[in-house]
Subunit: 313 residues, 2 copies
């Protein structure tokens, strides 16, 4: 994409003043990020879903310490080939695509954990450091993600490549939880206190349903092939469920990438949310100054700052 | 949908205390709204798009005084049957579906206005009354839409059934602009100062791209048939444009509903955003207390409070 330089400052520049910097679009900032700002995603943290006609959807699992009870179940379900022959059963417009066992009778593998609601949140003992990485507030002006500026949480920010909500630091503990943005993957469940096993999963295909935060486990996000889910025909039953068995979309298999032959393992990397490139990218998302834009917003909601992910060269 | 009553208060109730009110889901509040809370949409304000295979998409045009220059053009384009034989040319995942003349050579009808960028905003001379209807702040706690709590505008709220951003009242004038939520329809354009004629239109099919607010004209929203747009195959070219002519989706016609035979005119109504029912609905969207939810968010972003629209009986 070409970028035109539009700057009143430039018109006013005289003498030895430095030339104005080019105005980069968010995508250009990402393209210019140095290799060191990218973090490889381990194949053991990728779930590869293969649909009929070999359409492939790749899901990055949430990093520790978040949602690990459900993710442990998901690893067991994948290892047991449990999803093979199941199907996508629900496509609700501007909401979710959901998959699992339509019969609700397929026996689950043994040894799945029953995870408590408490685990929707993670309570971390240190103020700023989590696994050695600072919580990456994006609170520096002009990105309006300072505490109090998220509609759903006292604060919101990024850690290890994912967006999180959080409570204020209190009594030595910081509570954090993953949030529902576009393409996030969550665990279907029945009424509380059930939290779901992980056998029934959904992906968000509409405006961020943030009211689900802290009510459902978020276990990852689709990083490739979301279009194979988002462009499916909408279900005409209640909640977007398909009404006829033949409408369901067969799932050939779901595997951890690490279980595939090495040559078939997909390789992806994300832009470190602790990097200077990400800070610049987030700022540019909140303040579009590339040629098409005439009025930068001066802010953004956290789901409108999707973390860049790309295939590893 | 059944609603279970979950209330610790209920367990504590003794003696003559009144029974707790049932906890209604947002959809139940809408279903219970009295007829007087619904506002009929005039057929002259509905655009009926018919795609190949008679799939029908219905767009409600933005009420006066917003975006009326472009809407006047759109009425002329529909009256001239200008879109008949054009096509949907772009489907970008989590962003927009766009339609118009793929050749960019079809002559436009005469008499279209060239609308200035100033018209992205409307400057209203009174503080609270607009066309006799108060601007409907949703600022009463606990709905967090008070001034300063929108990430993209100093304030946000509803008027005449649509969501708007606004600036503080200043020097006798209140500036307001329509915002980009899911299903909103806007006017494609080239680089500023061009603002587009209205011949090239798009609909939002992803997370609200609010950075487009005040940068593009918003002229209405899809109120029926959005699934015929959102479930289309994604384009594989730059920006989601279809790369081959045969991928484009033919448009049979676009007409104002008022130009159709009376028996074929669709009839819709929206829940008055000035009504008590809407206030209850918005509160319930921000504080889900129906049985599925264990943790009400205590807030919502304005695009997560979609205005209810239904077929008129």
């Amino acid at each position: 994409m070409k970028t035109l330089l539009i700057s009143l400052t430039a018109l006013a520049t005289v003498g030895a003043a430095p030339p104005p910097k080019p105005v980069l679009a968010p995508s250009e900032i990402v393209a210019a990020a140095p290799a060191a700002d990218w973090v490889a995603i381990a194949p053991a943290d990728l779930l590869v879903m293969t649909l009929i006609n070999d359409r492939r959807v790749i899901i990055q699992l949430m990093p520790a310490p978040f949602s690990q009870g459900w993710i442990s179940n998901i690893r067991k379900l994948a290892a047991a080939s449990w999803w093979d022959g199941t199907s996508i059963n629900r496509v609700q417009d501007n909401y979710v695509v959901q998959w699992g066992d339509a019969s609700e009778k397929k026996p689950l593998p043994t040894g799945l954990a029953s995870v408590p609601e408490d685990d929707y949140l993670v309570r971390l003992p240190t103020r700023l450091d989590i696994n050695g990485q600072a919580f990456e507030f994006s609170a520096n002006p002009p990105i309006r993600l300072a505490p109090g500026d998220d509609n759903y949480a006292p604060a919101a920010g990024f850690l290890h490549g994912f967006p999180f909500g959080m409570l204020p630091y209190e009594a030595g503990v910081r509570s954090m939880w993953p949030i529902h943005c576009y393409a996030m993957v969550g665990v279907g469940r029945n009424l509380s206190p059930d939290t779901g096993t992980g056998a029934e999963l959904y992906a968000v295909i509409g405006h961020a349903p943030r009211h689900l935060d802290r009510n459902i486990a978020v276990v990852g996000r689709v990083i490739s092939g979301i279009e194979h889910l988002s462009s499916l025909p909408r279900g005409t039953g209640a909640l977007g469920f398909y009404e006829k068995a033949e409408e369901r979309v067969p799932i050939k298999s779901i595997r951890l990438a690490s279980a595939l032959p090495a040559a078939e393992q997909p390789r992806f990397e994300y832009l470190s949310t602790a990097s200077g490139s990400f800070a610049k990218y987030a700022d540019a998302r909140a303040n579009r100054r590339d040629a098409f834009f005439i009025k930068p917003a001066g802010g953004a909601d956290i789901c409108n700052i999707p973390v860049p992910v790309r295939k590893k060269a």
